[in-house]
Amino acid sequence: MPLVGAVAAPHSHLQLFTRPAESEQYKQDVQKGRNAMLALREQVERANPDTILVIHDDHFVNFDFRCYPPFALFIGHEAKGSGVTDPDTIEKITGATYRKYEGKENYQSAPSGIPQHMANWDNQKPYVYPANTDLSVHMLKGLLARGFDMPFTSDGSMDGEEVLTTNFLNPKADKKIMLMFTNGYVPPLPWPKRSYELGRAVREILDEVEDRVLILATGGMSHYPGTPLYGHVDEAFDKKILDTLASGKGSDLAKLSPDDLMNSGNGELVNWVITAGACGDVPCRVLDYVRLWHIGLGYLYWEL
């Protein structure tokens, strides 16, 4: 079965909570983003996948400076993570349900607004997703056969951001998932050319199997977390990327350099470039672009 769909959606935690001091305009912008995310969910449902391959840059939950691979594939049976705020709030906004543990009362990984939710302190994680292990292993072997020396991990810890996008797009966890981790913010980054080729190899493999797979690329767009540029957004770069994808020229992304990505605050575009490689030069439908004070949020799907 060929790839049944592909979407790109932000994973910014500020889609799920707003700090008390934020303005009404900011809250309206956040709501605009949530609406776009729910519109993307309709596209996911329309594509009717049985498996979602989530391509996401790990935020130091699975990997750290002991080893930080450019790409890695999860090959375990169950992936799980904590949300970015309390599960009741997440359920209210996204409809995502969660696993309750006996004797556990507090599921909030950190007070809202304090970015500790990427910490990996708690083993009893509320968001649990069955993995398509057979297909993950098949993909691992297929990538190696095609010249991609893909690292693998049996640790399926999902950081709060990866959970967030999955909360919106697979709220009932009724679709199996596969996880491909990338390096989107720890330079040196993988080259876009290689990322695009990886996507093409992923597509070849998916075209050979019976599973109905949808690719979900998380992240983006321009933002500079943890740097003196936080609050600056390269909107011109973002819009150029969206125009390129909307006009069916995704292969142009392979011509970018890692410096192009980093200097525009777009390291996470790695996830989108892999997806563009899997989809080929077909037009994207851009549902929305929302500029928050610290990030540009792009919501789109490929018209396969």
Binding site: H59, F60, V61, D64, F65, R66, A110, G113, I114, P115, Q116, M118, A119, N120, W121, Y185, V186, P187, P188, Y224, P225, G226, T227, P228, L229, Y230, G231, H232, D234, D259, M262, N263, S264, G265, W293, H294
Partner: protein
């Protein structure tokens, strides 16, 4: 005016995070919430267990975000470290434009 590449130079250009011990310490703090408390109560623990310089350790003990950025603490880990220290508006300490837009104020 400085370019984005200039401002990101310690991080995206020189990639100081690749060689700074600060990142191993902060990576371990993500997995062990008691480790951060040792910064104040037992700084020798870090001298014994990590190849950290005095300058790096002092910047961490001072919660000096600008210095930590310049010394090569990876920005993601800097955010995490700031959060663990209860510094929510970390970008203000970095002189970042934040909500006001515009360019960094004091780098």
């Amino acid at each position: 005016m400085q370019s984005t590449a200039d401002i990101l130079k310690p991080f995206a250009g020189e990639m100081r995070h690749l060689t700074s011990a600060l990142n191993m310490i902060a990576s371990d703090m993500i997995r062990d919430r008691k480790l951060a408390e040792k910064l104040d109560s037992d700084p020798d623990y870090f001298r014994k267990n990590y190849p950290v310089t005095e300058e790096e350790l002092q910047a961490m003990r001072d919660r000096n975000m600008i210095r930590l950025y310049q010394l090569g603490l990876h920005p993601f880990l800097l955010v995490r470290f700031a959060g663990m220290m209860g510094i929510l508006e970390y970008w203000q300490a970095l002189g970042a434009p934040g909500r006001g837009g515009g360019w960094p104020r004091n780098m």
